[in-house]
């Protein structure tokens, strides 16, 4: 289910630390789209997404989430969005259910709705037997699943994930991919950074390649191939070619 409205619209987004991390980035992600942002280490992917999530203040530019200006109305923008980082941050002393109850409360979800959703999500991620165990003994993969369930429990319309498959085993990764695809089919927008190009190739409707803080290429896999004059190339080869060109240009 695709609509033509934009779920995310970035214009001239800029962030400088010691060096320029994001360089006047323009990016549009359509509603109901699965968008993968790929790029080499230090390209500015995480910085971009952290600015979108409201965790970092941009030096310049604008961020619009489902038509809401996130820099002017941050609370309204956060209400429709979920953020998951590669390092799952959850509370060791809470159980997965308690954690999801807390997240539901923060987003102001009716307890009945969030409770039903919490049970369903945790069960679908294979955490059913651990509902009432404190998270302190969980593996990184289990913690990542709890964080993911927390992000989905308030039924966001835009999900932003930074390397969500890090630390997950093959079965868990398939669970997560299935869950995200399901959300996209239901009309939700997913933006994900990943180093696993195969995942981007298989799951994403469109792929954005970012290097040195700028979007160097964007489109479906076929469009990316056409843009680069290759018809039968893997995303990995395309990625390396694009990033190399950018590095040479720099």
């Amino acid at each position: 289910m695709k609509s033509e409205g934009s779920a995310l619209r970035l214009r001239g987004l800029t962030k400088r630390f010691d060096r320029l991390a994001v360089d006047a980035l323009d990016l549009t992600v359509r509603t109901g789209e699965f968008y993968a942002l790929v790029g080499p280490n230090g390209a500015g992917k995480t910085t971009t997404l952290r600015m979108v999530a409201g965790l970092l203040k941009p030096d310049a530019g604008s961020v619009a989430i489902l038509g809401i200006d996130a820099l002017v109305e941050p609370v309204a923008a956060k209400q429709v969005m979920a953020w998951i980082s590669d390092e799952p941050m959850i509370y060791d002393k809470l159980t997965p259910l308690e954690y999801l109850e807390f997240v539901g409360g923060l987003w102001g979800i009716e307890p009945e709705a969030s409770q039903a959703s919490a049970h369903e999500l945790l069960a679908s991620l294979g955490l059913g037997p651990h509902l009432n165990e404190r998270c302190e003994g969980f593996s990184k993969g289990m913690r990542q699943k709890v964080a993911l369930a927390g992000a989905l429990v308030h039924d966001p319309r835009l999900i932003i994930l930074d390397e969500p498959l890090t630390g997950l085993d093959a079965v868990s990764a398939r669970h997560v991919k299935g869950l995200l695809s399901e959300r996209v089919r239901a009309g939700c927008t997913v933006i994900m950074t990943t180093h696993i190009l195969e995942v981007a190739e298989r799951m994403a409707d469109r792929i954005g390649v970012i290097a040195a803080g700028r979007l160097v290429a964007e489109g479906t896999l076929t469009e990316l191939r056409q843009q680069n004059g290759h018809t039968d190339t893997s995303l990995e080869d395309l990625f390396i070619a694009l990033v190399d060109v950018k590095a040479e240009a720099a």
Partner: protein
């Protein structure tokens, strides 16, 4: 590498780790500050000579043979040092089991674990004794300056006491593991450390209040009754006191006995250390069961935040032990309060500063845990709440918790003296707000588990928190006794707070 060489190498590694941990604690983790930290430490040690002189100076002329009262006082002081060292050693041993990141590496290495852990036990003993030696310098200095070089033997007593404390701590902690299992040992050991650290002083105060109606612990130690119960001068009980006075033979006996005790503990417990550490690690992996399934609760977003904070505070073993310690320190004033019902003593004014100070200290800890110690900072930052609402909810948690702890005491005080109760309640609130504000101005993103190092993130915040606590406590006491002086004291404390705010890092 031969076995002996490997052990020497591991001992060097342990000492280097201990040194760097200590240095990081002193410098706040910033290497450039080493010189400033050393100068600060020297200045602090120099200043400490004054209170040391006030406390211990009058005993510098004591010589052998000891009269009973002097023997009791000296032995009690040494026992107090032992209790504090034991408390610190229990904390160190617990940390080795639960928090040291290198256990996996060590246990998966081909090294002989019994030997490796023997060295780790020795390192704990050395660290505890080393720290005690540093802290004892002002006291022993005063005794040497006032009473002669014979008092240098007191350093030997400190070493013997430190080594014995480490040995006892290891036996107690591993004993707890065997008795109650790894799940409860962490909490119980921390509570035990708090009780041991504070228990002796509190017990003396309680005895003094019950017998002599005073908060002074010396009242019991110097009483005829204590002298009446004390054993004769040749008793083994006075050995530490005699050794401290320069009796070299007794000092050597003490040192030998403590080293022998540590050797026995190493022989018995080093092979079990690995097993105990493995069980602690297995416990962390297994996790703990929370409450059973129940319905999600209704409430506002701020309520959800407050509920989460209360739940985490209630499940925090460090906080439990610290709160218990604060409450233990409040037992003597509470008892004093109860005694004062019958004899309307004016000395009851003394309990106000104790309560105010305890409230300030506890608030500082609570505020750090709720404001800086946010484990899921990204989640809270991306939630649809304004940062002000988040901070307000967290401050409310600190104030509610402080209210819950101190309201019963203030209420009891209100029956005896409503004015004093009002002053106490006001300054508890002011102290709590000050401590919370300082934590707010100096907040840094950290994990709750990093609480032990909270003081190292900003020395300024640490000192400001301590000085404002003391300042408000003094102001409260003066408000009840010399109101004009209270205005000056209050203004000074407010000035400290204002200066701290001025020097605090800018918040975005």
């Amino acid at each position: 590498m031969s076995s002996a060489t490997a052990l020497t190498w591991f001992a060097r590694h342990e000492l280097r780790l201990a040194w760097r941990e200590w240095l990081a604690m002193m410098t706040g983790g910033r290497r450039k500050r080493t010189r400033a930290a050393i100068i600060g430490l020297i200045v602090f040690a120099a200043i400490m000579h004054l209170p040391a002189w006030a406390v211990i100076g009058r005993y510098a002329d004591v010589r052998s043979p000891l009269d009973k009262t002097s023997a009791i006082v000296l032995t009690s002081m040494i026992f107090l040092a032992f209790a504090l060292m034991l408390s610190q050693a229990i904390e160190s041993v617990t940390r080795v089991f639960y928090a040291r990141a290198d256990l996996d590496l060590i246990m998966s290495s081909p090294a002989k674990l019994a030997n490796v852990f023997s060295i780790r036990i020795a390192a704990i003993a050395l660290t505890v004794s080393g720290m005690a030696l540093v802290l004892s310098i002002p006291f022993v200095d005063v005794l040497v300056l006032e009473g002669g070089a014979r008092w240098l033997a007191a350093f030997g007593v400190v070493i013997a006491v430190g080594v014995s404390a480490a040995a006892f701590a290891i036996a107690i902690t591993i004993g707890l593991f065997r008795l109650i299992g790894p799940a409860r040992t962490r909490l119980i050991a921390q509570i035990l450390a708090a009780i041991i650290g504070a228990g002796f002083v509190i017990a003396l105060q309680i005895a003094a209040i019950l017998s002599y109606g005073t908060l002074s612990r010396f009242a019991v130690l110097t009483s005829d009754a204590a002298a009446g119960y004390a054993p004769e001068a040749d008793s083994i009980l006075w050995w530490p006191a005699r050794a401290a006075l320069g009796d070299v033979g007794t000092l050597l006996l003490l040192l030998s006995a403590s080293l022998m005790l540590l050797g026995v503990v190493m022989t018995i417990f080093a092979p079990r250390f690995a097993d105990t550490a493995a069980r602690a690690a297995a416990h962390a992996i297994a996790g703990r069961q929370g409450r059973g399934v129940r319905g999600f609760r209704q409430g506002s977003r701020q309520q959800a935040l407050r509920r989460k904070e209360f739940l985490l505070l209630a499940r925090d073993p460090w906080l439990m032990s610290q709160t218990l310690m604060q409450l233990l320190y409040l037992v003597p004033p509470a008892l004093f309060l109860w005694r004062s019902f019958s004899d309307s003593s004016t000395a009851i004014v003394l309990i106000t500063p104790v309560i105010v100070m305890a409230a300030g200290q506890l608030s500082g800890g609570l505020a750090w845990l709720t404001i800086s110690g946010e484990d899921a900072a990204d989640l809270v930052a991306t939630a649809p709440l304004s940062p002000t609402s988040v901070i307000r909810a967290k401050i409310e948690v600190v104030l509610i918790a402080i209210g819950a702890v101190f309201t019963p005491l203030v209420a009891a005080l209100a029956f005896l003296n409503p004015l004093q109760a009002t002053v106490t309640a006001s300054f508890v609130l002011i102290g709590a707000i000050s401590a919370t504000a300082i934590q707010l101005w100096f907040r840094v993103q950290a994990k709750r588990s990093q609480f032990r190092r909270r003081q190292t993130s900003s020395r300024l915040a640490t000192f400001a928190e301590a000085f404002t606590s003391i300042g408000w406590a003094a102001t409260a006491a003066l408000a009840l006794s010399i109101p004009v002086a209270a205005i000056i004291s209050g203004a000074l404390t407010a000035a400290i707070l204002a200066t701290t705010w001025k020097l605090s890092p800018r918040r975005a």
